[in-house]
Amino acid sequence: MYTFSNRLKITSLVLIIVGAIGWISSYNSSHHLTLDDVKVLLAEEDAHHGVAEVHDDGEAHAAMIHAASENDHHHEEAHHDDEHAEHVLHQMHNRPYAALYVAAFFFMMISLGVLAFYGIQYAAQAGWSPVLFRVMEAITYYLLPGAIIVLGIGLWAGDHLFIWMDPEVVAHDELIQGKSGWLNKTWFAIRGLIFIAGWSLYRYFSRKFSLAQDQADVNDNRNFKKNFRISAAFLVFYIYTESMMSWDWIMSVDPHWFSTLFGWYVFASMFVSGITVIALITIYLKSKGLMEFVNDSHLHDLAKFMFAISVFWTYLWFSQFMLIWYANIPEEVTYFITRIEDYKLPFFGMLILNFIFPFLVLMNSDYKRVPWFIVMAGIVILFGHYIDVFNMIMPATVGDRWFIGVPEISAVLLFLGLFLGTVFHALSKAPLLPKGNPFIKESEQFHY
């Protein structure tokens, strides 16, 4: 039995408070920005450019062409500058909302990925994993609050994140008008609640049956069988709703753009993050001597999953990228052009974090059994998938005004504190070994 230590309680509370203070202060400072502030800022940036141009022939040449074309539209110039400044002001206003949303979504998706992994273990009647069930159940405890927070932020931020929520924009945009049967605020909220209700109901009953199975008679496997059935049903529900959730909560920030494998891509991201967190929490509890029944082979299997799903993520990332790059259709390719031009470092950096690093570090079979190797690879994977979510949300909301600064880091700390507090609270609620599971003996003796 795990007891939620005071030190950890205080840590998560401190994280929440520090994160909240940091985020609120950055929210206030961006909220008080005015159009004049932005104009001053833009003028300063332009001045910088001017100096650079003198040293760079290529750019100077481009600037000349630009200047020539600007002369033709001289009367429009002043108006255009105002419009640009207003656009930048909007982006800067959006930044705290987007930072909060990215962090909230990231921790929610860890929970959701673990729930899918847990469902698969039951539906497949896996024999190796029951010793890890209590860790998984604790992580999925965060799903209900986490998902409600994400949906809440989405609705509260409104057109700061989802421009299709702005009636002014929709009135001038035929493409969004065509999609308004799906993309409208009411239907968005109802869909979100249906997703959350379905996931949470499964989570509630599965946990209930899992605990009831511990109390049941040795030959009474009714609770396990019930869990098997609802897990199979949940997985069907999950793969549809997860896909739709990713359209709603992520893809619709770029309402003109669409990708048919986007749901799978987000799934890969949440799956690998979820499995990584299972491994990290298991290693933590094992180091405290609370999960002696978890052996090297269990860690080896988790690390294999981390390795395999990292490759799977890369496969989907590349499939999405290459087809759009090759076809070069303007309305599709704009998605990657924004990312390559304005987000070069995070966009290509995440390939190193999410693919090359875990691929090389976790390739050797022996290293998958070394806890500190798994922890190191796991931290890099989690950071990489945070960047992945960042790359999905930020270009559409803040454009080239991005930075990983106070609002982003505070939002991560805030939700990290909330996540740790919730998960470790849930861990202390039940014994760490699900002793009634019919496969528990096989799982304890699992070796490879």
Partner: protein
């Protein structure tokens, strides 16, 4: 090398075989070879065999495949006969790289897989026209055979093996190969 005496013990169950291997190893006898109709999980560890190094070989073969793919496509698609495919830049490898990734992946896997199989065959001394070493055809059907060299301890070994659940135990003269 001349002829040597070996003892053959046959089993009909992989679990019985596994416990027999553990007993024989505990008695400090050397197991020459075990013939099984299918791979038995954990048998190599129980026999005390050195861990396989095929993974290292596979990694190196994969690197060779990747290199071949890059050099091959650089020659075919960029240097020798640049083609305009879908308006993509055809005079630069790096700018055209996304289109080459599937082939780079395929050749990496192709080289790793095929060379690994060939290495495994050679390492197991199985090349074309080689006579089978398999001492008893039943090991390709439903029997497991453990081969232990005899050094003046025939009787002791026979009793030990019968006790471990062997269905047949016999001593044979083995030709060196």
């Amino acid at each position: 090398m001349g002829a040597s005496k070996v003892i053959h013990a046959l089993y009909t169950d992989d679990d019985v075989l596994m416990s027999a291997v553990k007993t024989v190893k505990a008695e400090k006898h050397h197991i020459e070879e075990i013939y099984t109709p299918f791979p038995v999980h954990g048998l190599d560890k129980a026999m005390g065999l050195a861990p396989t190094r095929i993974a290292i070989a596979a990694f190196m073969y994969g690197c060779v495949g990747l290199t071949v793919a890059i050099l091959m496509m650089n020659f075919i698609m960029i240097e020798d006969w640049p083609q305009n495919i879908g308006g993509k830049p055809s005079f630069s490898y790096i700018e055209n790289m996304p289109a080459f990734v599937p082939i780079m992946f395929e050749l990496t896997v192709f080289f790793a897989a095929h060379l690994m199989v060939i290495t495994f065959y050679l390492r197991s001394r199985m090349w074309p026209f080689k006579n089978a070493e398999n001492p008893d055809p039943r090991t390709t059907d439903d029997h497991f055979l453990m081969e232990i060299p005899v050094h003046d301890n025939e009787k002791k070994l026979k009793t030990l093996l019968t006790k471990t659940g062997a269905v047949e135990v016999h001593v044979v003269e083995k030709e060196a190969h």
